[in-house]
C-alpha cells in the first residue's frame, strides 16, 4: 500500500471513518488470514484469530500513532494472538504439521495444466513450510511471503533485527532442503 494512502487511512481510521476501516480490511484481511493459517495450520483457528485481530484494531484505533505502519501493526497483533492461543492450548507442533486438507482451495481461471502444476508446487512449498520450526516459519512468512522488511519483521516478533536476519537465512536453507532443491534447481524428492 502506498505510504501516503496509508497515512491518510490511519488518520481517517483514528477519526472513526467506516470507509477507511473498509479499505484497510479489504487490503489486509486475506494476507493476515493466509499468515495465520500458515502459522496455525488450521482454518478454524485462523478465522478466530483473524476476527480478534480486527477487533483489536478498531478498539485501539484511537491510540494509533499518526505515522503508524499498518502491516507490521496488524501482523504483530495476529502473531501475538497466535502465540497466546498456543500457550493457552499447550499446542504441540508435531500434531499440527499437517495442513488442513481444505487448504489451499483450487483457483478459478487457471487452465487444467496450469492448475495442476501450480497446485503441485504450492503443495510442496506448503508441506515444506509446515515442517519448519515455528520460529523459522514465522520470519519466512513475514519477509518471504508478506513482503515485510527484516526490520519490520523484527518489530513484529519482538527480536533484534540481526537475530531475524540470521533466522531468515537459516529458514531459507531449511526450506530449500525440505523442498528438495539445490542451488536454485528443483530436485525431485525420493518417494
Amino acid at each position: 500500500m502506498d505510504r501516503e494512502i496509508e497515512l491518510r487511512l490511519v488518520a481517517r481510521l483514528k477519526a472513526g471513518d467506516p470507509a477507511a476501516l473498509e479499505a484497510i480490511y479489504e487490503a489486509y484481511r486475506p494476507r493476515l488470514f493466509a499468515f495465520l493459517v500458515r502459522l496455525s495450520r488450521r482454518r478454524d483457528v485462523a478465522e478466530d484469530l483473524l476476527e480478534e485481530t480486527w477487533l483489536r484494531l478498531v478498539t485501539r484505533a484511537g491510540t494509533l500513532i499518526d505515522d503508524a505502519r499498518l502491516a507490521p501493526w496488524l501482523f504483530a497483533v495476529a502473531r501475538n494472538l497466535y502465540f497466546s492461543w498456543r500457550r493457552s492450548r499447550a499446542v504441540d507442533d508435531r500434531r499440527t504439521s499437517d495442513l488442513d486438507p481444505a487448504w489451499p482451495a483450487p483457483e478459478r481461471g487457471d487452465s487444467p495444466f496450469e492448475a495442476v502444476a501450480r497446485a503441485e508446487l504450492e503443495r510442496r512449498v506448503e508441506a515444506a513450510l509446515a515442517r519448519l520450526p515455528l520460529r523459522d516459519r514465522e520470519v519466512l512468512l513475514l519477509v518471504g511471503v508478506e513482503g515485510l522488511t527484516p526490520s519490520e519483521a523484527a518489530g513484529v516478533c519482538g527480536l533484534p533485527p540481526v537475530t531475524v536476519r540470521a533466522r531468515l537465512h537459516r529458514a531459507r536453507e531449511k526450506l530449500a532442503v525440505e523442498m528438495g532443491v539445490d542451488r536454485g534447481v528443483p530436485r525431485a524428492r525420493a518417494g
Binding site: G16, P18, L21, F33, L50, V58, P104, V125, L175, M179
Partner: protein, 88 residues
C-alpha cells in the same frame, strides 16, 4: 554475506511466490466486518454524546445560571456592607 538478498530465480523464492493469498469464509468475512463496524459506530455515538452538551441545546444554561446567582450574591453582599458602612 548479506543474508537478506535473495537471488532472482532462486527456487525457494519461486516456491514462496507461488503461494496464493487465501481468505476466510464469506460468512466469517461478513461477521468480522459487521462487528468492527458496530464497534466503530459505538465509538462514534459515545464521542457524539460527550460533545453534545457543549455543541448547543441547553448546555449553556447551567454555567449561565451559576454565574448569575454568584453575581447576585456578590452584589447583595457588597450592598449590605455599604449599608453597614453608611450607618456608622
Amino acid at each position: 554475506m548479506d543474508m537478506t538478498t535473495w537471488e532472482p530465480g532462486d527456487a525457494v523464492d519461486e516456491g514462496l511466490s507461488a503461494l496464493r493469498v487465501h481468505d476466510a469464509s464469506a460468512e466469517r468475512v461478513e461477521r468480522i466486518r459487521a462487528r468492527c463496524m458496530g464497534v466503530l459506530a459505538q465509538r462514534h455515538e459515545k464521542a457524539e454524546r460527550r460533545a453534545r452538551p457543549l455543541a448547543g441545546g441547553t448546555g449553556w444554561l447551567e454555567p449561565a445560571l451559576a454565574f448569575s446567582l454568584g453575581a447576585l450574591y456578590l452584589a447583595e453582599a457588597v450592598a449590605r456592607a455599604l449599608a453597614v458602612y453608611a450607618c456608622r
